[in-house]
Symmetry: C2
């Protein structure tokens, strides 16, 4: 297990050199912050990561939470961690002072989320879901709901969850079947079953507050008839004390990885007495829940970056130390063996990992910066459109390429990478959930192509092109980047051609064929987005090298330029083949009769 799981040097590069986090302090909302407070926050969470979370990473995989006495029994460290998160103000760091928060920019908290997930992804879901659930109550809930729940949740004493999935409704939320019946007494009676509920019922906290989707009796079919409820494990009764609600954890799923984060099945109303409290208006549940879903999707993406990054540092440390073989041009068997990292194929795999990790981090922080700019009212609509457009990429690129990246980390370690002495195999298992939960890759792809690319007459799409275009323009005047700037410009042109082609398919052939290759479209656009991020990082590194960097900084910046070149040379060419496939597939999957999978 490498000492390093995330790089402070790179984070500071990203935050201060690429994204100019300090410029946020000029806005009133963030004016109390400064580079010093940002550094302090980063240092705090890096320390929590290295001293508290990281040493538990393998332990939680070997001894995962168990189902005991009707709930998940977790390592006592979880309770300690949730309290710690409450005490340091992590859970509501972004909230306004009025709401008890610290008005920390999302740019900074997302960097911290990355660090925590790199240290121990399984534990970090607990605070993330608590914040997300509390945010729903904060934004859409009544004053009474806020008064009842937010304080305890923000103290880390009560856990929040996101209770959507049901046995018959996974990707298809329209088919949610849990019911809610108004009692006329200020609460509804809930009946149904939820599955795969992360942190659904554990002994890490004293109460669990489920933000749950259900259908009020008589509501319209489909997504227009879904409402949002607060369903606590322990409910308040009139005297202000708590009593057990009729919601039971029926068991935990056994997962391939990500074992530090238990997922459970919940049965509501088996005794006919599960109380739930309506959040906001009836039948608006899915619209509200999209807030938490977007937060969770971004959270999944940034956690995937974390997992892949920790695996990368394991591979880097191992390949620097492990001697194996000789260079291809140096075959004298009596000469000493060289470190693995000296082999071109290993360098290629390390550059791939670095490109995915630091490029994926760039995507996430770019979205965070847009979030902060939207928060302070700077072209709010513009930034919200950019965020909408980028969420599917921020979620999916690190998840899908992260599988390949952690797999490359295993390959760097050879046989040892496949054994549990090193945590790379755990990272590979842990990250495999990320293209599934919080909306599969297929769902993200349909979102990007079917909604985000067309909404507001393509406004989000055009804004994305404009933002990338600005970076291309800045790069094009630097001879060093002429090739990459041209390549990215051509890539965006290809993307445009593909989009035009697909909108034609939509018109002529309908939705089924239009969306058939959405997953490839998502991959293609994501590669270009990551290319844009690398070009942005490259410009900063190039400019820094024109000054008088220290020797260490010089290596760091040159490493950035090398990784940029790697990404454009080795990965961007996929854009062409993806575009080619999309434009030639001609409904091959959409129109295929499934009987052709039969063999007799």
């Amino acid at each position: 297990m490498a000492e390093q799981f995330a790089s402070k040097r790179n984070l500071k590069f990203m935050l201060y050199e690429v994204f100019n986090a300090e410029e946020l302090n000029q806005y009133e909302y963030f004016q109390d912050h400064s580079r010093e407070t940002f550094d302090m926050i980063l240092d705090t969470f890096y320390k929590i990561g290295s001293d508290f979370l990281y040493p538990l990473y393998q332990e939680l995989d070997k001894n995962p939470p168990q189902y005991v006495d009707g709930q998940a029994k977790v390592n006592p460290a979880y309770r300690e961690y949730m309290k710690m998160c409450g005490e340091v103000g992590w859970l509501n760091a972004n909230w306004s002072y009025d709401e008890g928060g610290q008005q920390v920019p999302t740019t900074i908290t997302m960097a911290c989320s990355f660090v925590l997930a790199a240290a121990n992804c399984g534990m970090t879901g607990f605070p993330m879901l608590t914040t997300g659930a509390a945010n729903l109550i904060r934004v859409f809930g009544s004053q009474e709901l806020k008064d009842c729940y937010l304080e305890k949740m923000m103290a880390g004493e009560w856990q929040g969850t996101m209770a959507l999935t049901e046995p018959g409704a996974g990707s298809s939320l329209a088919d949610i079947a849990s019911t809610a019946e108004d009692t006329g007494k200020g609460y509804y009676k809930i009946k149904g079953q939820k599955i795969f509920i992360s942190c659904g019922d554990t002994d890490a906290t004293d109460n669990t507050i489920h933000l749950m989707l259900a259908r009020i009796k008589g509501a319209p079919a489909g997504v227009k008839g879904i409402s949002l409820f607060v369903v606590p494990k322990f409910r308040f009764i009139e005297d202000g004390s708590l009593e057990r609600n009729d919601i039971l954890c029926a068991g935990l799923e056994h997962k391939m990885g990500f074992k530090g984060s238990p997922i459970c099945t919940l049965n509501m109303g088996e005794e006919g007495d599960c109380w739930g409290y309506l959040v906001g208006e009836a039948n608006m549940g899915l619209a509200y829940m999209f807030q938490m879903m977007n937060e969770a999707r971004i959270g999944v993406g940034i956690a995937a970056v974390g997992k892949a990054t920790a695996a990368y540092y394991d591979a880097l440390e191992y390949t620097k130390q492990r001697l194996q073989g000789r260079k291809a041009n140096q075959k004298d068997p009596s000469s000493p063996q060289v470190p693995l990292i000296e082999h071109a194929d290993i360098k290629r795999m390390l550059l791939f990992q670095r490109a995915v990790c630091e490029g994926g981090l760039g995507l996430g922080l770019q979205l965070a910066k847009y979030t902060d700019l939207a928060e302070v009212g700077q072209d709010k609509e513009k930034y919200e459109l950019l965020i909408d457009f980028m969420v599917p990429m921020v979620k999916t690129f690190p998840a899908e390429y992260g599988i390949l990246s952690t797999s490359a980390a295993i390959q760097c370690l050879g046989g040892y990478g496949y054994c549990s002495d090193f945590p790379v195999e755990q990272h590979f298992r842990d990250i495999r959930i990320d293209p599934i939960h919080e909306g599969t890759t297929g769902i993200q792809a349909q979102d990007l192509l079917g909604r985000k690319s067309t909404m507001k007459k393509g406004a989000a799409y055009r804004l994305f092109m404009e933002e990338a275009g600005k970076t291309i323009a800045a790069a094009a005047v630097i001879p060093e980047f002429k090739l990459q700037a041209d390549t990215l410009a051509q890539g965006l042109q290809i993307m445009n051609d593909v989009a035009t082609y697909l909108f034609g398919v939509q018109k002529e052939k309908g939705a089924e064929e239009f969306l058939a290759d959405a997953t490839l479209y998502l991959e293609m656009v994501s590669l270009l987005a990551v290319g844009w991020q690398w070009l942005m990082q490259g410009i900063v590194a190039y400019n820094a090298l024109q000054g008088q960097p220290t020797q260490g900084d010089e290596r760091f910046y040159l490493g950035k330029l090398q990784t940029l070149k790697y990404f454009f040379t080795y990965e961007i060419p996929r854009v062409n083949s993806l575009a080619h496939v999309i434009k030639t597939s001609q409904g091959l999957t959409a129109n295929m009769d499934v009987s052709l999978f039969e063999e007799e």
Copy 2:
């Protein structure tokens, strides 16, 4: 867990319709066989797979072999299986009658190996290694060694192993450090340590016969000083009885998957009394061992096809049954949900899996057919060259694309794919070892580009092009395949350009830069090879459809054509981007100073 783990229908298509296995019976060596004996053999092993092996697949993952009393304690089923393999003549089915075998064509035994691995990959390594080890003794050993070991091994009473890897010598076999000292008494004394030895010391058999590489004292450095020894766990003494040899299993590794196949560390000569028997001549060990390494590489490839195939059938069965969502052009939420398989994105993932599995199986069986033709003396040199050229692809394509294929199987099942209720997550873990053991992908790639493509002045390379060219010519006259035939012909032209380019790099820049992108070259050539196989299958299916197939056969053949089209539309375009990368990378990795991975 799906009922089906491999398809008899597809195997019969491959064996009898594509590869005309019966035509082998015209040769004297195979003349006692017929379609009937082939079918009987296939049915026997399919039954062993379905009735005996498959039900144990998940069990061995949950309760893997444990280190007890200095060896791996395995489920008693292993002992039963090894005996069964001995009794049905599985272990030496290919051997000549003179040698106690049954002269079964490799085309048939490889099909059986595929079935067994699909049913339970972990257990099937036991017979495979026993056969491979015995083959070394059979081909290179003295009569005395043959007399001592072969009978018991072929009865499944003694296990064979392949003992190469050491703590300081994994991919770099030149650095093997175990020593052998001639005692002058007919045996050598061996000293050293071996790691990652599959089936290295278990209670499944009464003795373990290690085929081990070691260096005789005073031998030259590097691969030219390596000799091959038989090192038994129990050795014969003069009266013909057995006594314990000084070789100890020091423990088992804990692997991410493939747990049914234990790997151990062996310490030889801790008491200074480990006896080993030289096989063949001194210092010829690596050359001999290449026979077993090639067998094992082919075995790994075909096992990977098996794992991916079993996962595919899980995904197929699940997506046919599981209802989720509606088609994109049918959004009425009150309409019933459709099976997952109706969604274009799911069909795409299933076609990908089918293309990888049935294409990978084609590659393996093609090599098997060449093996049989070489065996009967038909253009022996030609077929041996083709085999040499294809081994790296037969090993690596199913291993690397199998990771993606089993990952796609997980994705088809969504959240359930990530949980241990279904075995797809196990297949994903199990297959991840295949790009590592028996030579990593990087090693296979260097073998293909650095040796196989250039050996005998490119003779193997040209033969491969010729074989693919014949299929292209046959396809080109069928209008249905015009596009694919042209595409494959262009692909081979691209491959040729790339090879010419790389040989220029070799001349001008040297070995290091020449081999830097060997892994990409291997992927590119493999995609073309699989495209060739698909075209071959497509022609057969097309011709069959011109007759009067039953309705079931019609579906099967149309499914073949659909998968062929999928592969050429969705996967072959990668050839272009891989070629582009190779031709533009300009030593980016080879010449990179590794200090650029430093961050300060």
